[in-house]
């Protein structure tokens, strides 16, 4: 959780300074979701992520050096600088890629879940998406497919209240998007405080255990909030009410968890400070790694169009 926060804070700073090109979508505020879910996953379980995907990658165990190098557009990045912030993947740890098109990862996740089912083991697939994706046709197609094929698929919906700048209330005709999964497609669901990492962990643990024993798909709706705008763009006004942003900042999942650990005597303020210092060191190392890495050669653009060269 802390690694995600510090990673994202650094990405924002380095983006604003011009060191990082392109566009980045900050995950700050939503860390408890990726952390609570992915902590319950095995290495061979698979996840599919979306445009706001750095947190999911880190929580699944991705190498932050390779992530930072990718975001910096370096040759040593996860995708050799071809994907950038929105397309980080690490197939070796079951991270089957972030996706820049809203809801487009859902059909791919259904295929990965079908693969898990055909393999015959107890692997599961988690697909992360936002409330905005639930108005896309693919979302509904995949809920249906997951149900009729009883796929080992966990729908992890991060309801952060806004699809770009459109409030959920404007875009969606019901209070909870999970009602669509349960009422419309017969998929069991739960609504969870997405800012309480113990809640997200326990809800995901229960859901994943059920899906693992072939009880079909499960839908988790996490109520959370992104602190920053839809994406980083200097000068872009944030249209959301300031009081609302402030209210959610008070519900920051990280100090809340820290207070809980201190109160229960599991950790002290010093433990937190030590971990934070260690994480800050790792983030600096990742940036150093990225900066020390070469940029791709221009003609590297011609490689990897196909997995084998075409004559």
């Amino acid at each position: 959780m802390l690694t995600i926060r510090r990673f994202e804070e650094r990405v924002v700073v380095d983006y604003q300074s011009g060191a990082i090109p392109g566009i980045v979508h900050s995950y700050i505020g939503q860390e408890a979701v990726a952390t609570g879910v992915c902590t319950n996953l095995r290495r061979d379980d698979r996840i599919i992520s979306n445009h706001r995907g750095h947190g999911h990658c880190i929580a699944k165990g991705a190498d932050i050096n390779k992530m930072m190098a990718e975001i910096y557009g370096r040759k040593t990045g996860y995708c050799k600088g071809k994907g950038g912030s929105m397309h980080i993947a690490d197939f070796s740890i079951g991270m089957l890629g972030a996706n820049g098109i809203v809801a487009a990862g859902l059909p791919i996740a259904a295929g990965a879940a079908l693969a898990a089912k055909l393999e015959g083991g107890d692997k599961v697939v988690v697909v992360f998406f936002g409330d905005g994706a639930t108005n896309e046709g693919e979302f509904h197609e995949v809920l249906n497919l997951a149900k009729i094929w009883q796929l080992p698929l966990i729908f992890a919906c991060e309801n952060n209240g806004y699809g770009v700048n459109t409030p959920v209330k404007v875009a969606t005709g019901m209070e909870h998007v999970s009602e669509r999964a349960t009422g419309g497609y017969g998929i069991p669901s739960a609504v969870i405080d997405g800012n309480d990492v113990v809640d997200t962990y326990e809800a995901a643990q229960k859901a994943i255990a059920g899906v693992r024993t072939s009880q079909g798909p499960f839908f988790l709706e996490f109520l959370t909030y992104r602190w920053r705008g839809h994406y980083e763009q200097p000068g872009l006004p944030d249209l959301r009410p300031a009081a609302e942003i402030e209210m959610w900042k008070q519900k920051d999942p990280i100090p809340a968890f820290e207070r809980r650990l201190v109160k229960k005597g599991i950790a002290t303020q010093k433990t937190y400070n030590d971990i934070n210092a260690q994480v800050m060191g790792q983030i600096q190392q990742a940036v150093d790694f990225a900066l020390a890495s070469p940029l791709p050669a221009p003609e590297d653009a011609l490689e990897d169009v196909f997995s084998s060269p075409v004559k």
Partner: protein, 317 residues
């Protein structure tokens, strides 16, 4: 040699490859009965009519180590899943830096001529040719569909197999013993010395008929079937044009921004080939209209042996 239909040849290709590789999976709204009987319902899956979901699911299967074959049926239905074809399947190998392989075969029927009207008639291969990352095959004979489909299933990339709807029941010689046809090898269907006609899919047969007619007039036409569009066998076509000095491209797709335009550009851009041209290349293609329903209009919208002959004569003037 025995004769079987185009559809039977395609089915044989699938059966042989499904026997060979247990990681193959079939997704389609219609169940192919012979495949279902042999390989069961978990591998031969019936999908809802929800193209985006099953076109995309194939990508997830492939990225997880399987080899899906998807029958989308008509290419007009494929547009419903265009994001999954263009933004996902075509780009996924590249944007993840080549770290994973996506072996997928998507089959779609193309073409017109049966009064199916605009939303069930189209030949959209050039749209997909404009999305780097997809291989595109266009088999025109039973022999070719079997050999090319087998190669497609073993390929480690997304491959789209476009099959002309008029060819399904066509019979042709197909050997009993196994064979594969590599991608990027055009077939010279008829040798000639005066004009090179590159003819796609069903137009290959119209071009052969046109060549037969013109031979009686002393015009000798070389007919080339490219067989695959991506990769494209540029060398065979260029060598033929160097020999004949004249080029006609015949295809049913609308003429604007077409595969025929790409073949023509590829030939004239080559300085050596360009210098050998004796006349301006011509295209005998579909007109730029949605395919109309009523037979006289539909026939008018499409090229045929007569329009191909007109184009050939134009290059001979």
């Amino acid at each position: 040699m025995r004769k079987i239909t185009y559809e039977q040849a395609a089915s044989e290709a699938l059966i042989e490859e499904f026997r060979r590789d247990p990681k193959t999976v079939h997704l389609a709204t219609d169940i192919p009965p012979d495949l279902r009987a042999e390989f069961g319902e978990s591998r031969i899956r019936q999908t809802p009519i929800a193209e985006a979901s099953f076109v995309g699911a194939a990508i997830g299967l492939a990225g997880s180590g399987f080899r899906p074959v998807v029958n989308v049926r008509m290419a007009t239905f494929g547009f419903v899943a265009m994001d999954q074809f263009v933004n996902q399947a075509a780009k996924i190998t590249y944007m993840f830096g080549g770290q994973a392989r996506f072996p997928i075969v998507y089959r779609m029927t193309v073409g017109a001529s049966k009064s199916f009207a605009a939303q069930h008639s189209i030949s959209p291969y050039s749209m997909y040719m404009n999305a780097p990352g997809l291989k595109i095959i266009l088999p025109a004979t039973p022999y070719d569909i079997k050999g090319l489909l087998k190669t497609a299933i073993r390929d480690d990339n997304p491959v789209i197999c476009f099959e002309h709807m008029a060819l399904g029941m066509m019979e042709g010689e197909v050997p009993e013993e196994e064979y594969l046809i590599p991608f990027g090898q055009a077939a010279i269907r008829r040798k000639g010395t005066d004009v090179t006609v590159v003819a796609l899919a069903k137009m290959m047969y119209e071009a052969l008929a046109a060549a037969e007619d013109l031979a009686r007039e002393g015009i000798y036409v070389e007919v080339i079937d490219p067989r695959t569009l991506i990769p494209m066998d540029k060398e065979t076509i260029k060598a033929s044009v160097v020999k004949t000095g004249r080029l006609v491209v015949a295809d049913e797709a609308c003429i604007t921004a077409s595969a025929a335009a790409e073949f023509t550009a590829m030939v004239v851009e080559d300085e050596k080939v360009f210098k050998r041209l004796k006349s301006a290349p011509q295209r005998a293609c579909g007109r730029d209209v949605p395919i109309p329903y009523s037979p006289p209009m539909e026939q008018y919208a499409l090229p045929n042996r007569e329009t191909i002959k007109t184009a050939i004569r134009q290059t001979m003037r």
